[in-house]
Symmetry: C2
Subunit: 83 residues, 2 copies
């Protein structure tokens, strides 16, 4: 099972990396960009029986810093394998 | 317009960060994890008229290292605003 975990800074937490990228995009002439926030994507292959609780625990214990970050778990059901 | 850009290492490129996370998850007792790859997520607010070409150029020029990374552009049409 393919799982994508997205970790992003909570709203209100300063994102210097995003601000730097925003500034750099403006420097390159991309004036249509209004805001940039940068987060992490964690692509995992996990055994099919893995529970949502286990995935949540992984995020809370290791993958995200719950003080300043939120996470989203997206299950990418392998559409290539119909059976 | 909200745009999410996902930047990931190309297949075959070594991902030491992903390997370290995989190892750490195993150390915490999560044996169901088979593979971990880590990438970046860039959430951007851009003006509504921004073209796909402009977004692609942003990725190629700044957001992704095309030698070792691939990128995906996902337009998250703001579902909260019906009109």
């Amino acid at each position: 099972m393919n799982v994508r975990i997205l970790v992003r800074l909570k709203p209100g937490v300063l994102d210097p990396q995003g601000r730097a990228v925003h500034h750099a995009l403006e420097g390159l002439g991309f004036d249509s960009v209004e805001d940039v926030r940068i987060g992490r994507m964690i692509d995992m292959d996990v055994a099919d029986g893995t529970s949502d609780e286990a995935l949540t625990t992984m995020c809370e214990k290791l993958l995200a810093n719950m003080v300043i970050e939120d996470f989203t778990i997206e299950k990418l059901d392998s559409e290539k394998e119909p059976a």
